[in-house]
């Protein structure tokens, strides 16, 4: 039988991979992808705990759904921002967008 820590470790792995992506990728969209991965890792954790600790209450699922909503909103705004940024800078590479630089 699968024990809880498997899920947690997988989630942790997914999370750090996403984190790495967020921190290392140049392309803004890729950064957003990393964020999505991290969010999914979180969701896995939520659901795993729900399943193993309180399967009778819909708490975990409710949380997961809220996370979905947040992710969707974030992606929508983020992508719109990228479009706008691309119009301005002709690029979505995070390094090129450094007006706040010394």
């Amino acid at each position: 039988m699968i024990s809880l820590d498997w899920y947690l470790i997988v989630a942790a792995a997914l999370f750090v991979i996403g984190l790495f992506g967020v921190l290392s990728r140049k392309n803004a969209v890729a950064i957003l992808m990393g964020v999505e991965l991290m969010l999914n890792a979180v969701n896995i954790n939520l659901l795993a705990f729900w399943r193993y600790r309180a399967p009778t209450e819909p708490v975990g699922m409710a949380f997961a759904i809220i996370v979905f909503a947040v992710a969707a909103a974030e992606v929508a705004v983020g992508l719109a921002l990228f479009i706008a940024v691309y119009r301005r800078f002709n690029s979505v590479v995070a390094d090129d967008i450094n007006l706040m630089k010394w």
């Binding site: 691309y86 119009r87 301005r88 002709n90």
Partner: protein, 410 residues
């Protein structure tokens, strides 16, 4: 447990015993059975497409006052086989600079998406994967079709293909919304998301309950399939053949099959959701009858699709988007709310009372909608008289092709 009462069940039982007899483990047997079932289903429906192709060509021919295929075999019944042989023997061309893996994955994913819908369609009583979120599932896997088209359109490294891909995405993403909303109405009425449950709940077909919902579902899914009048993704006159411009041979055939199958799948889904699925006299006792009924109903809807294709011209892209966001979606929302509220009150009226009150509500909404529409027409007319100049109509920006996006930016 006769072959007539439970055909699939009997076969499955026999196979299980056979495998166990070979000494395979329990779990492995189950997995194998699932695989076999899936394989059989997928194969059958795809083979069935061969007949669909003949059927559609025939009907369209009649619509266009032609005979349609009539040489090969009786009534040209064997025509599709000829085409099949031809297309199989053709070479599969993969353009240079194309993204090979994605290029090849595209059609497969699309076809898989369509096939995956069949997994949850209740062919007959007690048959079919009774998933408790089946209704949503159909939408979910519908997304894969979009994905496939997008992939192939991009991977072809062809500007027309890419344009078509963009259009596809825009079209499907925007038409998914009314589809889901319309599809939620049967779910609401039946109180479950499992298609089997929905079918069993339809003592009165839901088309009586919600004709408008059926209409919306029909239109929206036709758009999702991308058939006329919504076939902008392969508008020959604008973008030569759209996303499958580069494809040829077997790979193209997969697209072809997927397309037809998707259309028929819509028919099947519509039958299940609104036309009582396998319901019919004696279906419970002789499930095969149910399969027959379902097939007939599916054909009906499919015929409607073909009919539309044969008669309606193609819409403009901005008209299409407007139609989804400014008309279908609000209307579907209104219907959903009205149905929910009304159902709460007419729960106790008995089946027919409930059905008729819902029907009445639909009629009222329909009348109001029509009044609103021609009011809009009048307004637009007066505007046109007032100022006759271009730019008066809302022209959505066409999806920016890759090359020109830089100019758009600068």
């Amino acid at each position: 447990m006769g072959i007539l009462s439970q055909p699939i069940g009997v076969i499955a039982e026999w196979l299980r015993n056979l495998f166990l007899g070979w000494g395979l483990s329990e779990g492995l047997t189950t997995v194998l059975l699932y695989l076999i079932g899936a394989g059989v289903l997928a194969t059958l429906v795809q083979v069935w497409v061969i007949f669909l192709i003949w059927f559609e060509r025939k009907i369209i021919g009649r619509f266009q006052d032609r005979l349609g295929p009539n040489r090969v075999g009786p009534y040209g019944l064997l025509q599709p086989f000829a085409d099949l042989i031809k297309i199989i023997t053709k070479e599969v061309i993969i353009p240079r600079e194309a993204d090979k893996a994605v290029y090849l994955l595209g059609p497969i994913i699309m076809d898989a998406g369509v096939l995956a819908i069949w997994a949850v369609i209740p062919l007959m009583p007690m048959v079919g994967m009774d998933l408790n979120v089946a209704a949503l599932y159909t939408i979910a896997v519908g997304a894969f079709a979009t994905l496939g088209i997008l992939m192939s359109g991009w991977a072809s490294n062809n500007k027309f293909a890419l344009l078509s891909a963009f259009r596809t995405v825009a079209q499907m993403v925007s038409y998914e919304v009314p589809t889901v909303l319309a599809l939620l109405i049967p779910v609401l009425l039946a109180g479950t998301m499992s298609l089997q449950g929905i079918v069993e709940a339809q003592h009165v077909w839901y088309i009586v309950f919600a004709p408008l919902a059926f209409l919306i579902y029909f239109i929206a899914s036709v758009a999702e399939v991308g058939r006329t009048p919504f076939d902008l993704l392969e508008a020959e006159s604008e973008i030569v053949a759209g996303f499958h411009i580069e494809y040829s041979g077997m790979v193209f055939a997969i697209f072809y099959v997927g397309d037809f199958l998707h259309a028929f799948t819509i028919g099947a889904l519509g039958a299940v959701l609104f036309l009582g699925g396998w319901r019919g006299p004696g279906a419970e006792t002789y499930p095969l009858l149910g399969l027959l009924y379902l097939w007939i109903k599916a054909f009906l809807v499919y015929f409607l699709v073909v009919w539309a294709r044969g008669t309606l011209p193609r819409v403009r892209i901005d008209q299409m988007m407007d139609f989804s966001w400014k008309f279908l979606t609000p209307l579907a929302l209104i219907l959903l709310v009205v149905a929910a509220v009304l159902d709460h009150f007419v729960m106790g009226f008995g089946v027919w009372g409930r059905a008729l009150s819902h029907f009445a509500a639909n009629v009222v909404i329909a009348v109001l909608t029509l009044r609103y529409l021609d009011h809009q027409d009048k307004v637009r007319e007066s505007k046109r008289k007032m100022v006759a100049q271009p730019g008066q109509y809302p022209v959505a920006r066409p999806p920016v092709p890759v090359e020109t996006s830089t100019e758009a930016a600068s």
